[in-house]
């Protein structure tokens, strides 16, 4: 009962702040909303008995990625950025497309195996780090390595693009 | 040219790795932490007695027999660049002065005085001296008008005292202003 109540609090806050991210005019306010959204997601992860994922969510996304976002956005000319409309009046088809996407996602989720609600393994708040680590480095070693390679390539690409003189 | 920069600076590297310079710095400040402080606990516990050359609040002197040295010649009033001294002379045969002429009024407006000491130089009888009281803050303008009676009472620091020391003191506040009462018995120098 209490858990359900907390779930609704976090879920409503998460969706509300996510809407705020795209609807607020001021980019800095958007980043703050995104931070709130991420924190709510971390709370939801805790409720799914995945504290490790929750902490990593806070650590990586809130603690590092969003700080970088802020670092860049703070240098923007906010008054100019605030003047631009996100969806200009003539482009109402964008909203229609959005509606189609929402319907599609609802369909996919409701038809897939994910829709089957499994009761969370209660009291399993310990030992998750070890399990995650073992799964990552045995069962999912190939995707893990591929992802790290992709990230490395992206990193190198950024360095090459960022260099001033290209020979 | 000499190829010296190829040499491996082992000593410098070790210094960097073990933060030797930083630790040395830390020990210097650590020693200072427990060394004697130089702060004077003014005004609650200590105060500074200036040298005799100091130019503070004016004092009107008496001679050894206790007679007023001031003869009301008004030279101080004339020499004062800010015109803050008012002298009104009068004839007096009772013998409270050294001559038959004394000051009826001798007033100084401390709000205007800049403590230049010209009045002191002008005084022919050495009646006027700039003393060593400098805590002159008060709560009223009236307080800054010092009259003859006040200036005739000897200051806490005797004129012949050498000065240049820290003495024990006590802070006294009343409705007219502040007063620091020095206790000349305990003297020290901070260096």
């Amino acid at each position: 009962m209490a858990e359900q109540m907390f779930f609704f609090v976090f879920a409503i806050l998460a969706v509300g702040s996510a809407i705020a991210v795209v609807s607020l005019r001021n980019p800095v306010h958007s980043v703050i909303s995104l931070m709130v959204c991420f924190l709510q997601m971390a709370a939801l992860f805790v409720m799914l008995r995945a504290p490790f994922i929750a902490v990593v969510q806070v650590f990586v996304y809130v603690g590092a990625v969003l700080v970088l976002f802020l670092f860049v956005i703070m240098m923007l000319d906010i008054s100019k950025a605030g003047m631009e409309r996100f969806v200009s009046g003539g482009q109402l088809w964008v909203i229609a497309l959005l509606g189609v996407l929402v319907i599609e996602m609802v369909l996919i989720v409701s038809r897939s195996r994910l829709a089957v609600i499994t009761a969370p393994a209660a009291g399993r708040l310990t030992g998750t780090v070890r399990e995650v680590g073992e799964a990552l480095f045995t069962k999912y070693i190939l995707p893990f390595e591929v992802v790290s390679l992709i990230l490395l390539v992206a990193l190198l690409g950024a360095i090459v693009l960022g260099r001033k003189e290209l020979r | 040219m000499n190829g010296n920069h190829h040499n491996f600076d082992l000593k410098g590297l070790l210094k960097k790795v073990f933060f030797l310079d930083l630790i040395q710095g830390l020990f210097i400040t650590f020693n200072y932490t427990f060394s004697k402080t130089v702060t004077m606990k003014y005004p609650d516990e200590e105060t500074w007695i200036p040298y005799r050359r100091f130019r503070g609040l004016h004092t009107l002197n008496r001679n050894k027999e206790g007679k007023e040295l001031c003869v009301g010649c008004e030279l101080c009033q004339k020499s004062c660049p800010t015109q803050c001294i008012t002298v009104v002379p009068m004839q007096d045969t009772t013998g409270k002065g050294i001559a038959d002429r004394v000051a009826y009024r001798w007033e100084i407006n401390l709000l205007r005085c800049m403590f230049c000491g010209l009045c002191e130089d002008a005084c022919p009888t050495e009646a006027l001296k700039l003393g060593r009281e400098y805590e002159l803050a008060g709560t009223s303008m009236q307080r800054q008008l010092r009259t003859k009676e006040e200036l005739l009472t000897p200051q806490a620091i005797p004129g012949e005292f050498e000065g240049g020391v820290i003495v024990k003191a006590r802070l006294e506040t009343d409705e007219t202003g502040i007063k620091i009462v020095p206790d000349m018995s305990v003297q020290k120098r901070w260096w």
């Binding site: 800095v28 931070m35 703070m74 | 702060t39």
Partner: protein, 327 residues
């Protein structure tokens, strides 16, 4: 039921203690600063100035709370709170000692609010959130120097949090657990991690100084060039919140160093564990204050090159060597 009540009591007690800590800490800092500079420090309010922090507190409470006309009013008001909340939230998972038995009711009490499986990650993640208050306070002030302070803070935080967490990894590898309680228990009997991870300790200490904005890394509030930096526009209690955050962060960083590297409450038996713990924390706080009044501030580019070119490769090498030794 009694468990929940106990947790509630513990939360209240820890919060109150942490709230009150900056009062003695400001006094100690000013006294140490004074004596290092051959001065006396605060002396007039109460015997040896002991009541000075209370005078300061009263002064800050009754000052006018100014919001600049062109500031972002909402963010400007909330930024000090954003800075302060994570600093307090860190204490949720910090253990202060082994179980103790309450003398009268004979009930065993754990000296922590919660022993998380991912304790150390939680502490590092939450402690990192404090920087939002600084960045947003700097940005929302809509003024040159606070903005520069906020920018510096965000860049500094990203650069040093990497080294900070990498320095922890060596400890985690040795102990084989992320729980702070396990980490401390593994060090009992003089097996302190500082003996096995000296490089990690040094990296953690330096990166920790940068993380809590202390000299020589206090660039976000650089008085010399930025004129108080991110809190230049703040006054009254909002300024006090920033100060509070800084001191609480100093305490939590000292506690973290003690837990990770200095054996927590481990020590000779003639003193109870909690006293050893407090003694070590107090010593570290003194060292942090001592460094503040010994060293000058690093330049901004020096700060960046220390973070990225020295501390980060060093911490990676430390992880590699630790791994090789364990295998």
């Amino acid at each position: 039921m009694i468990e929940l009540l106990l947790i509630g009591i513990k939360v209240v007690v820890v919060t109150l203690i942490v709230f009150a800590l900056p009062l003695p800490l400001t006094y100690i800092e000013r006294k140490v600063a004074g004596h290092i500079q051959v001065r006396l420090g605060p002396y007039r309010v109460g015997p040896h100035g002991i009541l000075q922090p209370f005078a300061d507190m009263i002064k800050l409470m009754f000052k006018e709370d100014i919001v600049p006309a062109k500031a972002d009013p909402w963010l400007f008001r909330i930024a000090p709170v954003i800075a302060m909340v994570p600093a307090f939230a860190v204490f949720a998972t910090i253990p202060f000692g082994e179980k103790v038995t309450l003398p009268i009711v004979n009930y065993e009490v754990n000296l922590y609010i919660s022993n998380m499986d991912t304790g150390i990650l939680y502490v590092l993640a939450i402690a990192g959130l404090s920087v939002y208050g600084i960045i947003l306070g700097g940005w929302a002030s809509n003024s040159k120097y606070p903005l520069l302070g906020g920018l510096r803070s965000s860049a500094q935080m990203i650069s040093y949090e990497l080294a900070l967490s990498f320095a922890c990894i060596g400890v985690v590898m040795i102990v084989n657990s992320l729980s702070l309680l396990d980490i401390v228990r593994a060090q009992s009997g003089w097996h302190w991690n500082i003996l096995y991870q000296p490089v990690g300790f040094v990296i953690f200490f330096i990166a920790g100084l940068a993380e809590i904005n202390r000299i020589p890394f206090d660039l976000p509030e650089d008085e010399g060039t930025l004129g108080a930096g991110y809190h230049a526009e703040y006054s009254s209690m909002r300024f006090a919140f920033f100060m509070l955050t800084e001191y609480v962060a100093m305490v939590s960083m000292s506690i973290l160093i003690v837990l990770l590297f200095l054996g927590g409450w481990d020590g000779p038996v003639f003193l109870p564990g909690i006293l050893w713990f407090l003694l070590k924390v107090a010593m570290l706080i003194y060292i942090i204050i001592w460094t503040r009044f010994t060293f000058p501030r690093y330049r901004y580019d020096q700060l960046m090159s220390i973070g990225w070119k020295i501390l980060l490769p060093l911490s990676l090498a430390n992880i590699l060597i630790t791994g090789l030794i364990i295998i």
